[in-house]
Amino acid sequence: MELYVPILVLAVLAAGFAVFSVTIAPFTGPKRWNRAKLDAYECGIDPTPQPVGGGRFPLKYMITAMLFIVFDIEIIFLYPWAVAFDQLGVFGLVEMVLFIVTVLVAYAYVWRRKGLDWD
């Protein structure tokens, strides 16, 4: 049974963090209401009226989606490492750190070149 204690602790921590964030947000966050923020939320696009033929999306959406895909999929390599990380020992850790640093370099490039800015 004590095998499940860490999971329980993690669950409590996660729930605590969620409750804390939600309760603290109304007090600390800036409140600048506008029309768009009061709309029904649907991926940031006006739900009605629908443009003819689905309309065209600004290029910004594609860039964001592409960045998401390429950084998201890198996580996949963490899974096999996570499964065997204790057997792989220091070697695995060092290699994984190197891998993540390489991904971070790409992230730094995107960030500095304003790939993460919306406007």
């Binding site: 057997q87 792989l88 070697f91 695995g92 370099v105 790409a106 730094a108 960030w111 500095r112 070149r113």
Partner: protein
Amino acid sequence: MNNTFQAPTIEYGQLAPLLLVFGAAVVGVLIEAFAPRYLRKSFQVPLTFVSLLGAFALILVQVFVSGVPTAPAAMGAVAVDGPSLFIWGVILILAAVSVLLITDDDHFVPQAAAVPGSAEEDDALAEGAAHTEVYPLVLFAVGGMLLFAASNDLLMMFVALEVMSLPLYLLCGLARRRRLLSQEASVKYFLLGAFSSGFFLYGMALIYGFAGTVDLAGISRALGTVSGQDPLLLIGTALLGVGLLFKIGAAPFQAWKPDVYQGAPTPITALMASGTLVAAFGALLRVFWVALGNLDWDWRPVMWGVAILTMVLGAILAITQTDIKRMLAYSSIAHAGFLLVGVIATGDARQNADALSGILFYLLVYGITTVGAFAVVTVVRDAGGEAGHLSRWAGLGKRAPALAGVFAFFLLAFAGIPLTSGFFGKYAVFAAAATGGALPLVIVGVVSSAVAAFFYVRVIVLMFFSEPAADGPTIAVPSMGTAAVVTVAAAATVVLGVFPEPVLRLADQAASTLFIR
């Protein structure tokens, strides 16, 4: 399935050239991220040269100090053997020479995201913007080439193929002038390249299904235990072959080559026509000789057909071309055919070593002459950029005798005229093929060489014996880099044509151990 994993051993020393090139590429990305715009180029150019030449020095250290390794590195994933080291050296030399061409900013678009002809493009031009990302992209592509030629299992080969190709797809679309052509070349190269890597991957899946491993030596072992008629194996071999033959531009998978070579910025064409071809031949040899060597009764007849078709198609279609870059592309297809003759010429170990040595030497001489020829193409200019149409080259010999003379010399080397390096390259491959029982192929090769010589000579005649047009192209004053490239390429073509022994001997030594498993 056992549950104990062992940390792999990685021979960092053997992989040092690869790590240096990839590391420099990553640093290049960091420079792009943090250096101010006006400083980027002055960081990127030295970094690129230092990493390429440093990697070359590391290869020399490996060969002359540590000795050529006798077992694959990185748990059998990368084989740093004699042929690999020779091919690495060739790729690094060709890449360094191509980068000299690339340093001439004039070839690349100031801002790729600006629509051609738009106000943004004019603004970018006016403020002197430049995509210095070109340098890290080239380094990634070169790293991919190195890995592609040395990968000892199919997964590594697939990853290397993509690491090599993805930057090249982007680089193809960055020409400053004739941007519509350049973007179109990029789309075509990308779609066809992705299509062919799909075939490569499915072939790899079927071979994995057959052998239970993607290790080249493991596949070879699995071949010994069953009869060679397993449909998984045969279909897998065919699909792998499609993927690899596409990369070298062999018929019937050659269609992309003229389009891409014409549309891409010429320095990038030079890099693709030399480096990619060398790397792809390294990988092709490794797959067909190491993994599928015992299956040669099945793949050899098909390869015969492919080689004949490639040589004939390349030589004949080149005659009908009116654009200089397209003509060089078809010439590159024909040369891929000549090199395939060497791939087919297998036999006993001695025969294999001869054929391999011929191919290695041919790759070196062809690559260096190609870079030189494309360097000449960059300086013959019209109002709208390079004067591509052959009619514009008429009478060039009277307007710029030195330049036209050097270009004529490169063309003669392509044709394989004695006293040029091309002669010894062709001779080495064809001689090995003749003793290897591929005499009919050699005859086809010699005949298509003669046909090819016709269109090379036609260009020479056009340059020297016709009147220059009144509004002929201007000869741009070559930048330091371009002049250096033309000089180096011409010198190499002469020296390897008159005095080829040392390099031939080096190729012999590199080939003598064949591929390690």
